[in-house]
Symmetry: C2
Subunit: 176 residues, 2 copies
């Protein structure tokens, strides 16, 4: 893993990939699958996400105020869906799905070594948690795997259907 500059974090999340979210609580690491997230600010990078209180990760995120958003490439798709189909309540998902937990620099939640980007996040605003399960996160440190160049991500269309990134196009944008 090498440093991903914080001003470039939006380039990883804005395209709308399915991501993994790791937490650590009472000495136990867990990981869930998530698609409901968006960028809110470039610098410092702020991310909004919905983590349902029906998810086992909700209590860990609420209690610790920390998580890692790990972005998987398409080769991990089958694993990512299986991670979303079970719960940390009764499954050690890192062990079951043979994911490699790596220590993060600033949060207790682990990085996922197999993912091409890992974003260490701290919860900075819980105003809308009770109403919508909406957390505001600040990305405090970001990593990318230089061995995974031009990763293709997956995008959830519902009922087990996912679009994999296809060709890249370049257009003259005046905006970042």
């Amino acid at each position: 893993m090498e440093d991903l500059p914080l001003p470039n974090v939006y380039q990883v999340l804005e395209p709308g990939p399915v991501v993994l979210v790791t937490t650590a609580h009472h000495g136990r690491a867990n990981v869930m699958t998530m698609s409901w997230h968006m960028m809110m600010e470039f610098t410092p990078p702020l991310v909004a996400c919905v983590v349902s209180d029906a998810n086992y990760s909700f209590a860990a995120l609420r209690a610790t105020g920390e998580c890692v958003i790990a972005v998987p490439a398409s080769r991990l798709a089958a694993k990512v869906v299986k991670i979303g189909n079970c719960s940390g309540r009764d499954t050690d998902k890192f062990k079951t799905f043979r994911l490699t937990a790596m220590p993060a620099a600033h949060v207790s939640a682990p990085l996922v070594a197999e993912c091409f980007a890992n974003l260490e996040c701290k919860v900075v605003d819980t105003t809308l948690v009770n109403r919508y399960d909406l957390f505001v996160l600040e990305v405090v440190k970001a990593w990318r795997d230089p061995a995974q160049a031009n990763p293709k991500t997956i995008h959830h269309h519902g009922y087990g259907a996912f679009a994999v990134d296809g060709r890249m196009i370049r257009l003259a944008s005046q905006k970042p």
Copy 2:
């Protein structure tokens, strides 16, 4: 345009496409390009989005509490980027970019006929507008164009780079 059932709206937005947002204010329609949005609830469909107060659309959205999220397929990509590169302050974007405004059923903002999905939205929560320009929208009516089957959307990677949807994969998901 035909009806898109509200419980299926998430299938259109969750994959993270670049979208257009229309507003109508003081009898004038406008349209902007947006990538910072996410689903928040299935039914009724709630959507969070960030519309910067630097955008001309901000005042219209704030004042009228209404907009339409229109989802373009990749053939509109060049137009979508140009729409994002200029402002409604000094440009009639519907005219300049030859978009067809169609009347919506429940909001004053127009549908965009060329888009494969159109979501009529009302602002239902402005708690985080002052802090983050974050609006919570409820989709009150949704439309899809039956003539555009399996549309490919675009996903913003920054600096004019966009990923176009590629192949679809199917995996056994137990979640919607």
